[in-house]
Subunit: 341 residues, 2 copies
Amino acid sequence: MGTNLAKVAAHAGVSLATASRVLNGGARVVTASLRARVLAAAEELQYVPNAQAQALARASNAIVGVVVHDMSDPYFSEILRGIQRVATNANRLVITSNSYRDPERELEYVRLLHAHRVDALILAGSGLDTPAYSQHMAQHIAVFTNTGGRVVLIGRHQIPGDTVLPDNFGGAYQLATYFAQLGHRRIGVITGPALLTTTHDRLEGFRSGLVATGIVLHDRDVVTGDFSRDSGVAATHQLLTQAPDITAIFAHNDVMAVGALVALRQRGITVPQQMTVAGFDDIPVAEDVTPALTTVRVPMVELGVQAMTMALSPATDGVRSVSCATELVIRASSGVVAPRD
Amino acid sequence: MGTNLAKVAAHAGVSLATASRVLNGGARVVTASLRARVLAAAEELQYVPNAQAQALARASNAIVGVVVHDMSDPYFSEILRGIQRVATNANRLVITSNSYRDPERELEYVRLLHAHRVDALILAGSGLDTPAYSQHMAQHIAVFTNTGGRVVLIGRHQIPGDTVLPDNFGGAYQLATYFAQLGHRRIGVITGPALLTTTHDRLEGFRSGLVATGIVLHDRDVVTGDFSRDSGVAATHQLLTQAPDITAIFAHNDVMAVGALVALRQRGITVPQQMTVAGFDDIPVAEDVTPALTTVRVPMVELGVQAMTMALSPATDGVRSVSCATELVIRASSGVVAPRD
DNA sequence: ATTTACTTGGTAAGCGCTTTCCACACATAT
DNA sequence: ATATGTGTGGAAAGCGCTTACCAAGTAAAT
């Protein structure tokens, strides 16, 4: 049924080798007349090469595998945009899979992608920080690397490999300084999932920033979310209940910050007059919500670009690491602390 | 370097065939002792099967290709979420690519995906409606289908194949009726790109709805956008300039509607008091912007689920088509027409 | 005219796997 | 005792392609 190279060759009256050389082998020269015959035959038979077979014969297949937490999440979809941009230019196909932060599933995908012999693997979305998981993953990664695979991590610390990571600590630190400067003393924090390195860094950066100005972050002012909008809503209500005297809220990502705005609106608390709110990432809608969200910009597209670029560059001896600066973006959702009633 | 089946077989002291049967062939039974030996060898050698080779030998490879306009766009990322959900359950890998609505690029990807012998192809995002393009694409699709490939289109009309499409016409019609009922007589429309079937359907549905209540849609009240937030902003300004007496705006998708809200805020026009705004799709943020957006809900995840389900089901004789109902969602951005000053 | 050196097309050996036969052993039936 | 069947392992033929390697033809050099 399917046309293959052999049929094209036969149709053109040349050998398999010649047909292959005309259609793919860039190196060898083929006489113009034969070349034309092959091209014509391929055209006529509507030949589409079998990339699987090519990959098998060559041992390299121009596919890069990417595992993200959830590509519907704007954070990851921006990263993917960066990855795709570079991939397209380099004529690489990208296989994307969502781990939904399930370690099992993530391992499964890495295995599957490895099975498909992707040239490189990009793991985005900080991984769980448990030793058991990290070790297991590191082991998988190792066998992949040993067979010539390239691996790039975005925002991971625990797994060896080339890394590109945003300065979560610094950004959170900056935000803390800014909050302190506005006069806030009691601040609520909505974190990401407990075991993520991202959560850890954003929390510690913020805490350090506060400490530097003599403010302590109380445990009861910190609640855990899961980076989703709904968890932002829930966490805000919880915060307002257990720590009613906070004057500002820092959500570990913009999506949850949007949830916080929703919750505050439900309670009739005005932003920024009665409550300051800030997020993290600077996703596209951050400036379109009301009030526009103060946040820490993470160059998400750039993260993806850097990662893909590293993934395509040949392996180096040591482990490379690229850091991407983050930047405080002040918008309407933050303001000086409200005078006590 | 890489461990392959041959090495595993040798290590276990069995033949290639036996090793293959233990690790993959579900049909044949292998004695427990041999089976154990093979499994142990595979484990020890950290064997990861080569999916390319398997696909070549079998002729089916558990990969589905998807071409969307831009997966950063919430509309498509929701569709992808639905696709992924089904794919994961069916143990299929998904290769996603962005066409950015460039016909050339789209054709290129279809070809590439075909080359990789994906089992099925899902084309999401309505295609350009030019005959030349449609014909070219249809031809590509045909050779893919002839070699056993499955094709599912989401929201396309011009290309033959199984289709799942949202009721764009009906939703827009409903919205028009609602607008008329609120008392709006002069309405501005921000459309999607001119040649898309989606744009056509949403525009005609809306127009029909208005006509049914005796309202005509003037050409100068219709401006073209490109589904992006910024084009929504620009189009709104243009609309306000060339048709200052409109009392409502219908943007062809929520993203542009958000842009409209931004533009109106810039001009100090209140929504919904001075201007009613509605979008289309009901993307997640629609209810989080201020005011919450009135829109027509498109079951995006469902679209993806249906498409993937069709893609995985065996081909049928004729062309199947699934229609997904859309639903008017009334929120705060729409209201009765403002009294004239 | 003969040797040397390129060109350029073809032959065939894989790439890593699946799967059809085949062969063998053992159990059951005659 | 032979004939028949049944389960199980192995040999080998591909799947569609790339790419050494070889052979022949042609051009350049002696």
